[in-house]
């Protein structure tokens, strides 16, 4: 059956790598984001690599008017409708300290926008009785840390949303994969001090598609982050509150 994928935040390097892998499998791709020139280049690339169809569509997490046209276009296709969410924003914590109003944008980009979109899409997945949602969160959502707790709290909220959505879609034949990447070699981490065990976007995309195929619920990628975060989550709060990691 034809697989269609809506990819939100398709200009990110992880999303690009995933789109490329899906293209090789002959998927139909709806590449959604704000930089239409860049999305058009990714669409052309996916077509050359085997995608049945690849289109660039406007998606702005802060503008709900952009949501319906994407859902309308994707559901016009027959077969399985899937959706992968890569959107999110992470201003420096210093910038947020100076301008707390920035929090609304961060939470909208990482949680409210994608959750609203998925809420609109869910009935279609239920109606077709199949389809997978991939939600990319972050290990930053597992525990609030001094360096990026606003971003982390938005990702934590999104992870909880995904958990509920999984609960809902499972009973209709759908599935939700929550992805928690560790450090990935992207523009976001380029040049930042203290990065270690950095994964390539393509390796992360490979892990995600394996998780989709095996109907995993929550994955960490690379896998060892599960154990790193297990330790971090279990540090007692009275110690953790004095740490800066």
């Amino acid at each position: 059956m034809q697989q269609s994928w809506i990819i939100l935040g398709a200009t990110s390097s992880m999303a690009r790598a995933m789109a490329r892998r899906l293209a090789k499998e002959g998927a139909t791709l709806f590449l959604c984001g704000r930089d239409m020139d860049d999305l058009a280049a990714t669409a052309a690339d996916c077509l050359a690599r085997g995608a049945v169809c690849a289109e660039a569509l406007l998606f702005d997490a802060r503008d709900t008017d952009t949501f319906a046209p994407i859902i309308e276009r994707a559901t016009a296709e027959e077969g399985v409708i899937n959706c992968a969410v890569f959107v999110g924003s992470m201003p420096e914590q210093d910038a947020i300290d100076a301008t707390p109003e920035l929090i609304a944008g961060v939470v909208t980009d990482s949680h409210i926008g994608p959750a609203t979109f998925l809420q609109k899409l869910a009935p279609y997945i239920e109606a077709r009785g199949q389809g997978t949602v991939v939600g990319v969160g972050s290990v930053a959502g597992d525990r609030g840390r001094i360096g990026n707790y606003v971003y982390g709290s938005a990702k934590a909220g999104f992870a909880t949303y995904l958990s509920g959505l999984r609960n809902r879609l499972t009973r209709a034949g759908g599935h939700v994969v929550t992805v928690k990447p560790g450090f990935v070699d992207t523009a976001m981490t380029w040049g930042i001090e203290g990065m270690f065990l950095v994964a390539s976007p393509d390796a992360v995309a490979g892990d995600i598609l394996t998780a989709v195929a095996r109907k995993k619920n929550v994955i960490y990628t690379p896998f060892f982050w599960r154990y790193i975060m297990l330790i971090i989550r279990h540090i007692p709060e009275f110690i953790f509150k004095k740490m800066s990691i």
């Binding site: 930089d35 280049a41 052309a44 690339d45 523009a187």
Partner: protein
């Protein structure tokens, strides 16, 4: 834009640079950053020496700009971002009946690098150099972005193809692909007993893809012995091979010592039966034989290695023999040595190819290696030949004087394109390529 302080090398790892590197993921980011910061670009750094390095300066890493921008199935013209590896391009289109007309010895080289070094392949005698099949280039010269073709800007074009990135950053390019029957290759390998036999075999070869592996440790009557590989593209069933292997760490220094290499070469020579053999393989294998082993440069240990590559005119066979004799007695040769007959095709002022024989040999970066390469460079010079900048990390400005007859014309065009010398790299400075001292 984030600038990352990095220490980086070419493929040979014998030349090292450190400096700030940006890695844009979108063409719009690259364009914006280049307006503020003029600096050279590099791709996968598969050139061996320092042509892609900018020590104590800034540079752009192009590897994230690796997409197909447009493809016209009617004409076979493809437009790609400059950071796309050439092997990826081959794999993406071969099963659709199109292939890049020229592919270098590694599929990891980027399209931008293939243009900037005007690379050649095993079919140079038929198809010429890479740049001859490029039909348009988007060049970012600081704040100015220009889309050039061989007709719209002939002087700038010839200065850009094979121009080592000195006219600006190559952001994207259009390439005329070549129709092909399929993604397999019929490959015939046979033993050749010595240099003279090799030269006869090259003359008699009628295949599109022809290359000779040489046992660079052989001396005396066996001098120049090796294996001739002849290939033609065909169709067939492509059972893709096992996943690539990787060399996980630096090998110890004895791994490629003289006795080990002698034994390896003997076995490698005898691998092909005395009567020769013909097989059908996926095109990636004969095109990119070493790509199956990632990080094979680690076999040379942490000091790295150099590759020497020159081309000498057809009538300089005795000089070629003298070079092989010198290499064979040096005890420094590695298993990687390649001989090929080149045609005249070249795309720019500073393109390497000329009609003649081209010889490429790897040397571990041990004591004496640089002196030997220097000697070989002088021999190439005396023969009226030239060395290949994509491989060089050793030569001096004086040694290469006169090797490239169009150097002065090129230097003038480059001075016009980049008056601030913002795109200079370590090799360009070392050889004084833009100083106009080269023309003898």
């Amino acid at each position: 834009m984030a600038w990352n302080k990095l220490t980086y090398t070419g493929w040979g790892r014998a030349r090292v640079a450190s400096g700030l590197v940006a890695r844009p993921e979108r063409l719009s980011t690259l364009t914006r950053d280049l307006t503020e910061t003029h600096a050279p670009a590099f791709g996968m750094r598969r050139s061996y020496g320092d042509v892609a390095l900018n020590h104590n300066g800034r540079a752009y890493d192009m590897t994230r700009l690796d997409r197909v921008i447009a493809f016209d199935p009617a004409t076979g013209v493809v437009e790609v971002e400059a950071g796309m590896p050439i092997g990826d391009l081959g794999r993406a289109f071969a099963n659709k009946g199109w292939i890049p007309p020229v592919m270098p010895g590694t599929g990891f080289a980027t399209v931008g690098g293939c243009i900037a070094n005007d690379v050649h392949g095993k079919n140079h005698h038929v198809m010429g150099s890479f740049g001859q099949h490029v039909t348009a280039i988007t060049l970012i010269q600081g704040a100015k972005t220009r889309k050039i073709t061989p007709k719209s800007a002939p002087d700038l074009w010839k200065a850009t193809v094979g121009g080592l990135g000195q006219t600006g950053v190559i952001a994207s390019a259009k390439i005329q692909l070549m129709p092909c029957k399929g993604d397999m290759m019929v490959l015939t390998e046979r033993r050749i007993d010595g240099l003279d036999d090799f030269l006869v075999a090259f003359d008699e070869s009628r295949t599109d893809y022809t290359v000779g592996w040489i046992d660079a440790t052989a001396t005396g009557a066996r001098l120049g012995r090796g294996i001739l590989e002849e290939g033609e593209i065909t169709s067939g069933i492509n059972k893709s091979r096992d996943a690539a292997k990787s060399v996980p760490f630096n090998a110890p220094s004895w791994a490629l010592s003289a006795p080990v290499v002698r034994v390896f070469n003997e076995l490698y020579f005898r691998r092909v039966p005395a009567k020769g053999r013909t097989s059908v393989k996926p095109i990636t294998e004969p095109f990119f034989p070493l790509d199956a082993i990632h990080n094979w440069n680690r076999l040379y240990g942490k000091r790295g290695f150099h590759q020497f590559q020159c081309v000498v005119p057809m009538d300089q066979v005795e000089m070629l023999r003298a070079m092989l004799t010198r290499i064979g007695t040096s005890g420094l040769a590695s298993p990687l040595a390649v001989l090929k007959k080149m045609g005249a095709g070249r795309g720019g002022y500073m393109s390497f190819p000329m009609e003649g024989y081209t010889l490429a040999v790897d040397f571990p970066n041990r004591d004496g290696a640089e002196d030997l390469i220097s000697e070989l460079t002088d021999m190439a010079h005396d023969a009226g030949g030239r060395i290949y900048f994509a491989k060089d990390g050793v030569a001096s400005a004086a040694q290469i004087a006169g090797m490239y007859p169009d150097q002065e014309t090129w230097a003038k065009a480059v001075a016009k394109a980049d008056p601030e010398r913002a795109f200079e790299t370590d090799l360009v400075r070392r050889l004084g390529l833009r100083d106009g001292t080269g023309a003898a």
